[in-house]
């Protein structure tokens, strides 16, 4: 067949040579290209959507260089063995040990270190530092609010976001790929733990400040922590801080008994206006006014002084354990 085709091609060319100079009508893309591509596409479609390839399985991958670069990129010096351990998950280590056992390797060489103790250590350090940082930066917010903000910062989603943007996704050795949010968060904890053991706890504190605490930047603190019962909380706070009895008063109303009714309520204590809010009925207006008053008492408004992410907290102020 191919012989026939080439013969026909030759004939066509010979014809063209004889005649006047016209445009050559030869196929330049080979005849096999299209059916092959079609077949490949067909097979791919039959296989269905595939999971992404593990980056570590590529030819251009050097685990040691990657670990070295990970530390240098963040401006930290890690012990590479410790860092490698921080990225090895317990489930992965167990699976690997099983595999080695089946291959008949001696029990003494079987042990593969994993990161569970580093995770615990890092978790401890991160929580202690974040709490100390918030205590220092938001001195007027009660404990309940600080706890809520800290749990936002230390939530799996926030930590996974931070972790994936530091490039841990390809380095984590886990049984699944891409790693889940939990394993990303855990590996970040483990990295903090590894940093504390390789270059001291102070570096670990600065790491937490630079990468976890900075997530608070430009965040609306009312979104992070909204008191469920603002009026009761306001009364409690007023009693505690001796601001006087909190008393809501109607400042204005508009469009009563219509669908577009609006009420404005101000909260006074000791003849001082603490905050004001509005709403479609008096109850909602009082609640928003209480929230506003709480924001001004706690100094968590949008226009507060921005967080200072360059502070060096003294390690004494960070309560570990």
């Amino acid at each position: 067949m191919s012989f026939l085709r080439s013969a026909v091609g030759l004939l066509a060319r010979a014809k063209l040579l004889e005649g006047s100079p016209t445009v050559q009508t030869r196929r330049h893309i080979k005849r096999w290209v299209s059916p092959t591509l079609r077949e490949l596409a067909h097979r791919q479609k039959k296989l269905g959507p595939q999971k992404p390839e593990r980056r570590a399985g590529f030819v251009e991958w050097n685990q040691r260089s990657e670990l070295f670069a990970f530390g240098k990129r963040l401006g930290e010096s890690f012990e590479l063995s410790e860092l490698q351990r921080a990225f090895t998950e317990k489930s992965f280590a167990e699976r690997e040990e099983d595999r080695r056992r089946q291959l008949g390797i001696e029990e003494s060489d079987l042990h593969m270190p994993h990161n569970s103790d580093l995770v615990e250590k890092g978790q401890h350090i991160a929580r202690a530092y974040v709490e100390a940082f918030l205590q220092h930066q938001l001195p007027k917010v009660p404990n309940e609010g600080l706890q809520a903000i800290a749990s936002f910062l230390l939530s799996t989603e926030t930590l996974a976001h931070v972790s994936s943007h530091l490039g841990t996704k390809d380095l984590i050795q886990s049984t699944e790929y891409p790693p889940s949010a939990e394993s990303l968060a855990k590996s970040l904890h483990a990295v903090i733990g590894a940093l504390a053991s390789s270059s001291g706890i102070e570096r670990a504190f600065i790491f937490v400040r630079d990468f976890i605490c900075t997530q608070l930047n430009q965040k609306d603190l009312l979104d992070v922590w909204t008191p469920q019962e603002p009026i009761q909380l306001l009364e409690k706070i007023c009693q505690e801080r001796k601001l006087g009895e909190a008393e809501p008063r109607l400042l204005g109303d508009c469009g009563k008994n219509t669908v577009l009714a609006a009420y404005q309520v101000g909260i006074y204590a000791n003849r001082q206006l603490l905050g004001k809010g509005f709403g479609e009925d008096v109850k909602t207006a009082t609640e928003t006014a209480a929230l506003d008053a709480l924001q001004s008492i706690f100094d968590t408004r949008d226009n507060r002084r921005p967080f200072d992410f360059a502070i060096q907290l003294e390690p004494k102020t960070v309560r570990l354990g």
């Binding site: 990657e66 900075t214 204005g252």
Partner: protein, 192 residues
């Protein structure tokens, strides 16, 4: 925006992970240089590897550099960023200086900048600093002690001149022009 940019990914200029706030992290995590050892199109890449690559690697310990020779293929730069993006760039027939510049560009961006249409040159998380509007916002102080219904407040803000008023005004003007005599005559007539 031209037609060819309709399907381009769009976004705002953002620093990933509040970069630079705590410390700066270079967003390029690894770079792969692919080249051919004897093809002419890879000459610039080979020169770059020979003369500049070691210095580059020393200056940027945070970027993993892979060099991948392959036969009879175009030289290529592949950059991988911390946000998971991957940028592929052909360096066919480029000189070593051009390659240095392209690598510098990869080093300083946080994703393929040419494949992102910027919707605006700025971005803010807080578009309104005033909050929602209410009828009580920026209210005039006069409205404070007002008793409703009030005749003053019920009037329209601007009332145009009526035809009658206009006529009267025209008449007064005529009177002024005619002078005092005419005025007297008119008064007499009225008295009669």
């Amino acid at each position: 925006m031209s037609n060819s940019h309709l399907f381009l990914k769009s976004g705002f200029p953002r620093a990933p992970l509040q970069n630079g706030l705590g410390r700066y992290v270079c967003q390029l995590q690894r770079i792969t240089l692919k080249f051919c050892k004897n093809n002419g199109s890879s000459r610039g890449m080979r020169d770059f590897i020979e003369n500049h690559l070691l210095d580059f690697a020393k200056e940027n310990p945070g970027i993993v550099v892979y060099v991948k020779p392959r036969r009879h293929r175009t030289p290529v730069l592949v950059g991988e960023y911390l946000n998971g993006e991957r940028e592929w760039m052909s360096c066919r027939n480029s000189t070593q200086e051009e390659i240095s510049k392209w690598i510098d560009l990869l080093k300083t961006q946080n994703g393929s900048s040419s494949s992102l249409r910027l919707r605006k040159m700025w971005h803010t998380e807080v578009p309104s600093i005033q909050g929602p509007w209410t009828p009580f916002l920026l209210r005039s102080p006069d409205a404070q002690g007002q008793a409703y219904p009030s005749a003053e407040a019920s009037k329209p803000l601007e009332t145009p001149q009526t035809a009658t008023e206009k006529l009267i005004e025209l008449f007064r003007q005529q009177q002024l022009e005619a002078g005092e005599e005419a005025h007297d005559v008119l008064n007499k007539k009225r008295a009669e």
